[in-house]
Symmetry: C2
Subunit: 102 residues, 2 copies
């Protein structure tokens, strides 16, 4: 039960999944992320990135182009959430069909 | 994304999963459930059962023994959450190992 709760703690909330989805399409700089994750404030993005980094779902490194500053990438551990999300997605679709579709 | 959110809305919160886990072991009456789901108040259990019923995860029927009152059971749709929970559990274990285990 505690492990299930740990997993839910990571994925609940409004922003973490959209950020991870944006990064699964490729590494991005802070400014690029704000454009990809619609509606997020700089302050919130900064907070969520720190939290994702602490949880080793996202890594942060200086870009090869030093002018460009730091880049954020999804880690292998972050990608391992994709399987969980596929299950959640499949179940959510079926649930929506069942509850709303009739 | 909306489907993933739907699924998370169902499983987040403190009580729904423990209630479903208790019922996956067999149908139970209200009083039995309060004993199985440690720490839940009658008021909260009543609220959560109504919500689970609305979402078709739990069904409520008169017990064969009329003296015994109504019984709550997990539905097939409720059981379909088990696969999602197994993924959440596996990922949460791995996450805990990774973050706390070193």
């Amino acid at each position: 039960m505690r492990s299930v709760r740990d997993a839910i703690d990571i994925i609940e909330g409004k922003w973490k999944l959209p950020i991870l989805i944006a990064l699964s399409g490729g590494s991005k700089r802070f400014g690029q992320l704000t454009r990809h994750v619609e509606g997020i404030s700089d302050k919130m993005l900064s907070k969520e990135l720190k939290d994702l980094e602490l949880n080793r779902l996202v890594s942060r490194e200086a870009s090869e182009d030093l002018q460009a500053g730091v880049e954020y990438s999804i880690t292998d551990h972050g990608r391992s959430l994709e399987k969980v999300m596929r299950e959640l997605y499949a179940w959510g679709l079926e649930h929506r069909r069942m509850i709303i579709g009739d």
